[in-house]
Symmetry: C2
Subunit: 173 residues, 2 copies
């Protein structure tokens, strides 16, 4: 045993994830920590234990969480931290660019994700809820043209593709 441990996590639907994105390492955490401290200093806000605890718990997960996921996660590990504090800090972390309002789940909840150097959109499995990221330059270009055709100055977009990731499995099953 032990020779195939690099295969990545198996989803509820049976699909095996490629081992693409390892959890953030210690160095990355340090960088985020400094980044947060800098932001707080710059804005005249204060560093608190709770603030970093909340940030860390979110950053460790890799993102794609909604507010309630975050509250639950914090409560589980630190029952002493109140929900109001979590909500207040989600806002601060977004302002600090350590977190961003990413997209909506199909049922309308706001999902947060970690800041990323490249823009991407999302494809979500309606079976297992797993979210993957995609990027397509052609679509990006087409969006610019569409905005131009409407006389709009493009400011952003939200693009979510929905489908089922276990299609192949079901076909053969």
């Amino acid at each position: 045993m032990g020779s195939k441990e690099k295969k990545g996590r198996v989803l509820p639907c049976g699909r095996t994830l490629p081992p693409e994105a390892p959890p953030p390492n210690e160095e990355q955490m340090q960088a985020w920590h400094s980044s947060l401290r800098d932001y707080l200093t710059r804005e005249g806000l204060k560093y608190t234990e709770q603030r970093w605890t909340i940030a860390r718990l979110i950053l460790e997960t890799g993102g794609h969480l909604d507010a309630q996921d975050i509250v639950a996660r914090v409560k589980a590990e630190h029952p002493g931290i109140g929900a109001a504090t979590v909500y207040r800090n989600i806002k601060v972390l977004c302002d600090a660019k350590l977190l961003e309002d990413s997209h909506r789940s199909p049922d309308g909840r706001v999902l947060y994700e970690l800041p990323d150097e490249h823009h991407h959109d999302h494809i979500v499995c309606t079976d297992c809820g797993e979210i993957f990221e995609f990027h397509d330059d052609e679509i990006e270009d087409l969006q610019v043209k569409i905005a131009q055709n409407f006389g709009f100055k493009l400011e952003g977009h939200r693009h979510l593709i929905q489908g089922r990731c276990n299609y192949l499995k079901k076909k053969s099953g």
Copy 2:
């Protein structure tokens, strides 16, 4: 005066809408009315004054409303109709295909719109909130390819472009 009345509505941001989609005419209303009655009969549900009042108020607007917009509109004209009745009927109207869960506003609310024969996505002005519809076959095709690349069976998508419709006006002003 009177020679230019076909120019369409002027938005809060100054943009003049092309007179593309006139409000539904009496004939269209009649068709929807029959369609609703048929649906209700088919499902063993009942036709009520309130039911049609709510439907009519929504259908008259052309859509792109959220639940609260609808409640407000109904309350304004018919204070006797309770909010619960409105919510219950939004569901019925969706089931009857006279209304559909269209997309999310940038802040996450569910927007409803009238059923349309062609699929389309939306482009929204962050200044005035006006929503236009667009369709792009190339983007549609690219989405299929993306889903395939992920091993997904495509089920749907939500695509919202955000921008400012008064860009041209601001540039010259």
